[in-house]
């Protein structure tokens, strides 16, 4: 039974009033005006906002590390938890600059995501993953699609290797589709669209514990 619009909006309002991020679901776009108004009222109710000292320090570290690196690699950004921005850097900005920079420091786009001080995150029982299907999971700052083949699983990053968009799983075609342009990837991350030449998706490390739980290497 579809959620009533007033319940849908109240869920979002409650999240905002409790300082939680906007968690939107299918159908919420029908109330986009009410949602953006709620976000603005929530902000207004909290008075002028300044960055927290911890966030300011994080940004300072980010800024100070930039001159030496020239550009953040997509993989480094994924590891740092900047998935969407990383895609923008890799797909939008870096792509324009590779000629002048030579791309020497750029890691392979299909290299595995191995976070510094990464940790294994339980994302569910193997039995919860449908065989032959990909399921979106998050392991801290790492978003991934876990694909089950019988008793084994593999995973790839959920961010398109070109534009900074979160992929979605199309059950019918068995492909990961990008909502931002007409490209798709196989469950093991290889591009399947003939219209674009793309890098493969970054591999995300997975393992299955002796208790039959699926774990993903995240942050």
């Amino acid at each position: 039974m579809p959620e009533q619009p007033e319940n849908r909006i109240d869920r979002i309002v409650n999240d905002l009033l409790h300082g939680r991020r906007l968690r939107l679901r299918a159908g919420d776009a029908d109330e986009k005006e009410a949602i953006t108004a709620a976000a603005r009222f929530a902000a207004a109710g909290q008075g002028p906002q300044r960055m927290s000292p911890a966030f300011r320090r994080r940004l300072a570290e980010l800024i100070e590390s930039t001159p030496n690196e020239a550009w953040l690699t997509r993989r480094a950004a994924l590891v740092a938890g900047f998935g969407v921005a990383a895609g923008a850097v890799a797909g939008g900005l870096l792509g324009k600059q590779l000629g002048s920079l030579g791309g020497a420091s750029m890691l392979s786009a299909s290299s595995p995501v191995v976070p510094v001080n990464g940790q294994w995150t339980d994302v569910g029982a193997l039995a919860d993953f449908a065989d032959g299907q990909a399921t979106h999971v998050t392991a801290g700052a790492v978003g991934a699609f876990v694909y089950r083949r019988g008793d084994s699983v593999s995973a790839v990053s959920s961010i398109c290797s070109h534009l900074p968009c979160e992929l979605w799983w199309e059950k019918g075609s068995g492909l990961l589709e990008c909502p931002c342009h007409p490209v798709s990837f196989t469950p093991d991350g290889k591009p399947s669209s003939p219209s674009y030449t793309l890098s493969a998706l970054n591999e995300v490390k997975t393992r299955i514990t002796s208790a039959g739980r699926v774990e993903v290497l995240g942050t």
């Binding site: 007033e6 319940n7 909006i9 109240d10 309002v13 999240d15 300082g19 939680r20 991020r21 906007l22 679901r25 299918a26 919420d28 776009a29 109330e31 986009k32 005006e33 009410a34 949602i35 953006t36 108004a37 709620a38 976000a39 603005r40 009222f41 902000a43 207004a44 909290q46 002028p48 906002q49 300044r50 960055m51 966030f55 300011r56 994080r58 940004l59 980010l62 800024i63 930039t66 020239a70 900047f82 969407v84 921005a85 990383a86 923008a88 850097v89 939008g92 900005l93 994302v123 569910g124 919860d128 979106h136 999971v137 959920s158 534009l163 968009c165 992929l167 979605w168 931002c180 342009h181």
Partner: protein, 184 residues
């Protein structure tokens, strides 16, 4: 495990700000200046997304996209212009991805003037201008809920109504508020 991401109904490709490269004025103070400017960006973004987690993510995206393009030697106004152009692009992509809002629908909202001073109470003043245009009931429910932090139950008690009725009124009030132009 999380839900499969929703496919946006209008997957507009976010536009990049102009590819201009501007320079920071002084190497020693570059980080402080950039942080002060990002403070304005954070307030700008927060006023539109209403929560810290999303505001931090988006501000970080702005920094990632803009800072590498800033080198030594340019006035703060140029830095600010570039950062806000990037902030608009990042916010546009955020709403576009989350709600399927097109860039055209966002255009008016994001074309607001660049803040010239420290984070101000402008969002609250803007909210008051909107509230002033609403009917008494709509204004009251939004004031109690957002400005005073009342729960639905408390609002219902205050307004001598039911939780269900307040929930519907809240939705209608937000829809009505979205139609008000506070700058008219």
């Amino acid at each position: 495990m999380t839900a499969e991401p929703r496919r946006p109904s209008d997957p507009a490709e976010p536009s990049e700000p102009a590819g201009e490269v501007v320079d920071l004025p002084n190497a020693a103070r570059a980080t402080d200046i950039a942080l002060d400017e990002l403070e304005l960006v954070y307030a700008f973004i927060y006023a539109r997304v209403g929560n810290r987690a999303d505001a931090e993510d988006l501000t970080q995206q702005v920094a990632l996209k803009a800072i590498p393009r800033l080198r030594q030697g340019a006035p703060a106004s140029a830095i600010r212009g570039y950062l806000f152009a990037t902030a608009r692009s990042v916010l546009g992509a955020f709403w576009s991805m989350r709600l399927g809002l097109s860039q055209a629908e966002l255009h008016e909202d994001l074309a607001l003037a660049i803040p010239q001073g420290p984070p101000s109470n402008e969002p609250a003043e803007r909210a008051q201008r909107i509230l002033a245009e609403l009917s008494d009931n709509y204004r009251r429910v939004l004031e109690l809920r957002f400005l005073h932090g009342y729960s639905l139950k408390e609002v219902a008690s205050e307004m001598r109504s039911t939780v269900g009725a307040v929930k519907v009124m809240q939705l209608r009030a937000l829809r009505a508020a979205a139609k008000v132009d506070p700058d008219a």
